[in-house]
């Protein structure tokens, strides 16, 4: 298949870009791993569930309907092709071909065996992000899930992890997750947030840039009250208990430095824990393309262009800021691509509103970043017995030994010595944890592919199996 623009990711950023570009005459192929468009924020209940009120667990449903209708219209008119269930494992710049010749390599279906290739003149990376979870004793017990994961299972399958859940960690995502689970009938035993609300107050100016967001946050507060959810700020989960499955957590209060106060621990019985410590951008595809990645995010200019000609990026892949920001960035990227593909400059006047909204939302995201810092000293809670790399079952003690006794000074050496980060997830889940426990700064790890690829597919590439 050959297209003008391949958009990778059908979340808010990818959808906004696809619509903006298609409206300006660009032929778009929208490639996404999910069975339906929507990404994380607009994740839809599966069609088979026949939800007559699919928006019950969502915010900004009207925006979604507009995006969905736009997408349907462009698909019907043949301007957008949506390839669902396509997991992209590599985007290749085809040197030797004309400039702006990309091959997007995907694997089909949840089992990911069959290859497919889309050739495109331009590429937009709109792959979003995933959640960071820092380890603590007991975090590998069944029943402990990421906050976003609980949300995804709820939005997509209308299922919940248990009867009695604690929502914990840090960041703005915890609020919709707690209210969503409560609305779905789960008892939310506590919302445990490590950040200090005074930090939030100190960011008042930045947060006021988006009054609508403050209203949204107040709405979550009201709903938490209504469901009688106990909110513990400046608290953290120090341990999860259970043998075959979670039976409870111990929470403790934090001092001004973020250290656990001795003697404040208390146990909360629960059968599930939804925990998250912020979001991390997906950057693998950008890395293999050779795009500049700064501080874990894909670097872009005012037009959302990366430093590789023909490659744009938008949404959480370029920095975490929520669905509204992803929409604005996607829209600006779509406009830029449409102009640049015809050798023109994007009409600045037309993009003014989106640019202003992007600027305000970025300020808002910065303020949130300061209000919800990752908890300092978290690694002190990680006992030597705690597994940090879940895939290879590497314990914190082994990581510390590699640093102390074997002189490992960076995550790469720790990885070689301990196998931490060498398993199925390629270090996505344990990267921040291993660096934190080892006491070295996080470095960007290069992964050859964004997905594990069956050898048969690699042997066939390139050339065969093209669609």
């Amino acid at each position: 298949m050959r297209t003008d623009l391949a958009v990778i990711g059908a979340g808010p950023a990818g959808l906004a870009a696809a619509l903006a570009a298609a409206a300006r005459g660009v032929r778009v192929t929208l490639v996404d791993a999910g069975p339906e468009a929507g990404g994380q924020f607009y994740r839809q209940p599966a069609a088979g569930l026949g939800a007559r009120r699919p928006g019950a667990l969502h915010h900004q449903w009207r925006t979604w309907k507009r995006l969905r209708e736009g997408l349907d219209r462009h698909i019907a008119a043949g301007r957008i092709v949506h390839l669902a269930d396509h997991h992209v494992w590599c985007v290749e710049r085809r040197s030797g071909h004309a400039p702006g010749d990309f091959a997007v390599h995907a694997l089909l279906g949840p089992e990911q065996n069959e290859p497919a290739v889309v050739r495109a003149t331009a590429v937009l990376l709109a792959t979003g992000g995933y959640e960071r979870v820092l380890p603590f004793p007991g975090w590998t017990l069944p029943g402990v899930v990421t906050a976003g994961g609980a949300q995804a299972m709820l939005k997509g399958g209308l299922v919940v992890p248990g009867q009695r859940v604690v929502v914990a960690g840090t960041g703005p995502l915890l609020l919709p997750v707690a209210t969503g689970l409560a609305a779905a009938g789960t008892t939310v035993a506590a919302l445990v947030e490590s950040a200090d609300p005074r930090l939030l107050a100190r960011q008042a100016r930045g947060l006021a840039a988006e009054p609508g967001k403050a209203v949204e946050a107040a709405g979550y507060g009201v709903r938490l009250l209504r469901h009688r959810v106990r909110v513990l700020v400046r608290h953290t989960v120090v341990e999860a208990h259970g043998t075959g499955r979670l039976t409870g957590v111990t929470v403790a209060s934090l001092d001004a430095d973020g250290r656990v106060r001795a003697g404040t621990g208390r146990r909360i019985p629960c059968d599930s824990l939804a925990v998250g410590h912020g979001m991390l951008p997906h950057t693998e595809l950008a890395e293999t393309l050779g795009c500049r990645v700064d501080g874990g995010r894909v670097h872009v200019d005012e037009e959302q262009r990366t430093d590789v000609p023909g490659v744009w990026a938008a949404g959480e892949a370029t920095g975490v800021g929520g669905a509204g920001l992803a929409l604005a960035e996607g829209h600006l990227a779509g406009r830029s691509i449409a102009a640049r593909l015809t050798g023109a400059r994007p009409d600045e006047h037309g993009g003014k509103r989106a640019a202003a909204s992007r600027a305000a939302l970025r300020r808002f995201a910065d303020a949130l970043d300061h209000a919800y810092p990752p908890r300092a000293h978290w690694a002190e809670q990680v006992t030597d017995e705690t597994v940090v790399c879940r895939c290879e079952e590497v314990r914190a003690g082994a990581v510390r030994e590699a640093v102390r006794d074997l002189g490992a000074g960076d995550p790469r050496t720790v990885k070689l010595l301990t196998r931490a980060g060498m398993g199925w997830c390629q270090g996505r889940m344990c990267g921040p944890a291993v660096a934190g426990v080892a006491g070295c700064p996080e470095t960007v790890t290069r992964r050859p592919f964004a997905r594990p690829v069956p050898l048969g597919v690699l042997a066939r590439e390139p050339g065969e199996g093209q669609v």
Binding site: A46, G48, L49, G50, G149, G157
Partner: protein, 99 residues
């Protein structure tokens, strides 16, 4: 279930799958993980080295903690693979290959 009621869900007819030989009901559109959660099951894999139980962590296909054997194929991500009528789902021990 409350969440189904909340979304005023009118799912298609339920069907049966088995988990370690036990019959459980699944709804069309559910992933294997959703069907297992709805049946109150939260772990369906034991780890390679220490034999510890695991289930869902990320819920979106990133972490690979939810690996499971479906119809004799090991290493399927339960959070992504749709449940189909008659699926034989089994706890995956280690790599899922007899070793």
């Amino acid at each position: 279930m409350n969440s189904l009621r909340l979304a005023r869900s009118r799912p298609g007819p339920a069907f049966t799958v088995t988990f370690d030989g036990r019959e459980i009901e699944a709804l069309p559109g559910w992933t294997v993980a959703a069907a297992l959660w709805a049946a109150g099951i939260t772990s369906w894999r034991t780890t390679r080295h220490e034999g510890r139980p695991r289930g869902i962590l990320c819920g979106i296909g990133v972490c690979f903690d939810c690996l499971v054997t479906v119809n004799d194929r090991p290493n399927q991500r339960a959070c992504l693979v749709p449940a189909r009528p008659g699926d034989v789902i089994r706890t995956q021990e280690g790599t899922g290959h007899a070793d």
